[in-house]
């Protein structure tokens, strides 16, 4: 019984992390048709800023990480992606890949490829015992952070002017411009919010291992990529659910697979992804307006 609760907690917290990752990528895809592989490097930048702020009081360290990541995201848009605005999806993908590659390389030059230790505040790493179940405070923080971000985003999209503009742009970018929505503003907002999500994700990811390397963002961005498509392109909530589902499924497989098959966990996970896509090629949640013509 206790181990079931344990596993549920693990599933929830990994799901929460993956949901945050997926939304970050889905935002940029929904508005600009950009599958941004360099999103992983935003997480890397967040991780290295945590490293750079090692030893500072934790509010400064964490806030600094998020702020630096947001700035990095805005710079990324302005310098790297603006010249490619309007390009086709494969070109954008290769561009984001080249960028990702370049950023990892620069980080390697600056910090070497060896893992750097990051000391994070205790509340991210302590053990909590409830009855006979003990889990990490990181689990709680992950779920709480994800909930805060998701509800914040939902509220912002619904209520604020820029939120309405973003939703319109996600439906039809050209028509939104016809009505006076400033392309630059909306795109910057999307990148900025993605940066925010990436900053928080960086904290959660680094907290898992306590270290940062140049390739720290590679695995998360793949997860986000898969979650977004499985969840349904163009739908933010689909991406979030896709991420959550992937996280939960990962933990489930970990628990359920017999030891000989355990190393094949990812193979099973991706076999599951294939199955979902064969059954529902448009993803799990379909946004009417963005139905890909199949």
């Amino acid at each position: 019984m206790t181990s079931i609760v344990q596993h549920l907690v693990d599933a929830a917290s990994l799901g929460a992390l993956y949901a945050v990752l997926a939304i970050g990528i889905a935002l940029m895809f929904g508005i600009m048709n950009l599958m941004n592989l360099a999103y992983g490097e935003l997480i890397m930048i967040g991780g290295y800023s945590l490293y750079a702020l090692n030893g500072e009081p934790w509010p400064l360290q964490l806030l600094g990480c998020v702020v630096i990541t947001i700035v990095a995201a805005l710079l990324m848009e302005r310098l790297a992606f603006r010249p490619f605005r309007g390009a086709s999806a494969p070109v954008l993908l290769v561009t984001s890949f080249a960028l990702s590659f370049a950023l990892q390389a620069i980080a390697t030059v600056a910090f070497t490829s060896r893992a750097k230790g990051v000391s994070l505040p205790g509340f991210l790493d302590s053990s909590i015992t409830v009855g006979s179940v003990s889990f990490s405070s990181l689990n709680v923080v992950s779920v709480v952070a994800a909930l805060v971000l998701v509800t914040g985003l939902a509220t912002g999209l619904r209520r604020s002017m820029i939120g309405v503009q973003m939703r319109a742009a996600a439906e039809s970018f050209a028509t939104a411009r016809l009505v006076g929505v400033r392309a630059d503003k909306v795109i910057a907002a999307a990148f900025g919010i993605s940066g925010l999500f990436a900053g928080v994700a960086a904290i959660l990811v680094v907290a898992q291992s306590g270290t940062v390397t140049p390739t720290i963002g590679v695995a998360p961005v793949l997860v986000a990529f898969v979650a977004t498509i499985v969840g349904g392109l163009g739908s933010l909530w689909g991406a979030a659910w896709g991420g959550f589902g992937l996280g939960a499924l990962t933990v489930l497989l970990q628990v359920v697979l017999p030891t000989e098959l355990a190393p094949y966990r990812d193979a099973f996970l991706y076999a599951g992804v294939i199955f979902v896509l064969l059954v529902r090629p448009q993803g799990l949640i379909v946004l009417r307006a963005r139905l890909e013509r199949v």
């Binding site: 039809s172 411009r177 016809l178 009505v179 929505v181 400033r182 392309a183």
Partner: protein
């Protein structure tokens, strides 16, 4: 008010519009008609900066605006009601209208909203409904209102009668008449040639990317002339421009 001077629009290496010149004098209504694929929609798209113009220039109020971004043109008083309405189906009617008022302060935005509710009472009862649930005619009203929220001086419309029942089309043209009467300059692209010619002061016929006929509505009331220009039968007379 609006001048197109020998514009060419290319898609890759194919030119969809060649050497197009047209003028829309202030306060008048001009129609751009022609068969399917003639390049009418491309022309409107190019005027507002959504399509690239490879040669020639566009002037609005004497100022060169070739290639300027649509969101900037809206602020200068030039608005487009796109083909097939293209309202935001996942947004409510209110949100659709609100989008256009980013630059207005709260009072001005409320006034603009009220003004459009007066114009199209059907929208008032549906402010909080998702726009995707409106009927075709209502969506057209919404699209027009959306473009009018910021009081454009020049209104471009791309096939407003497309897919609408005749009675609704009558209403749409009645609205356009009112707009013209209130001083809005109009450039109308239409498939329904007779309607368009009757409504406008002047019309240009586009065929395969070139102007093949132009004239006042009186001159073009000759339906044979009109039909021939559509079918590409040469030569055309009265004010016709051969390629």
């Amino acid at each position: 008010m609006l001048e197109l001077d020998q514009i060419t629009i290319s898609y890759g290496r194919t030119a969809v519009v060649t050497g197009l010149s047209l003028t829309v004098p202030q306060g008048e209504a001009v129609s751009l008609i022609g068969p399917n694929g003639a390049g009418k929609t491309s022309t409107l798209a190019a005027i507002v900066g959504l399509r690239q113009i490879t040669a020639g220039s566009v002037r609005f109020d004497g100022e060169e605006i070739t290639g300027r971004a649509p969101e900037l043109l809206v602020r200068q008083g030039l608005a487009l009601v796109p083909e097939r309405r293209q309202i935001f189906t996942t947004l409510t009617v209110r949100e659709n209208l609100r989008l256009a008022t980013a630059d207005l302060d709260r009072v001005a935005a409320a006034e603009a909203l009220e003004r459009e509710m007066e114009r199209f009472p059907a929208l008032r009862g549906r402010l909080e409904h998702p726009a995707g649930g409106l009927s075709g005619g209502q969506q057209q009203q919404l699209a027009i209102s959306r473009a009018l929220m910021c009081r454009p001086r020049l209104l471009l419309l791309d096939e407003p009668s497309l897919g609408l029942a005749p009675k609704i089309v009558d209403e749409v043209f009645a609205t356009l008449d009112q707009l013209r009467a209130s001083g809005v300059t109009i450039l109308l692209v239409e498939q329904n040639a007779l309607r368009a010619v009757r409504f406008a002061d002047r019309a240009y016929v586009l065929n395969a990317g070139r102007v093949v006929l132009e004239g006042t509505s009186a001159e073009l009331a000759d339906t044979d002339l009109l039909t021939n220009s559509y079918l590409g039968v040469a030569p055309t007379s009265i004010g016709g421009k051969d390629a």
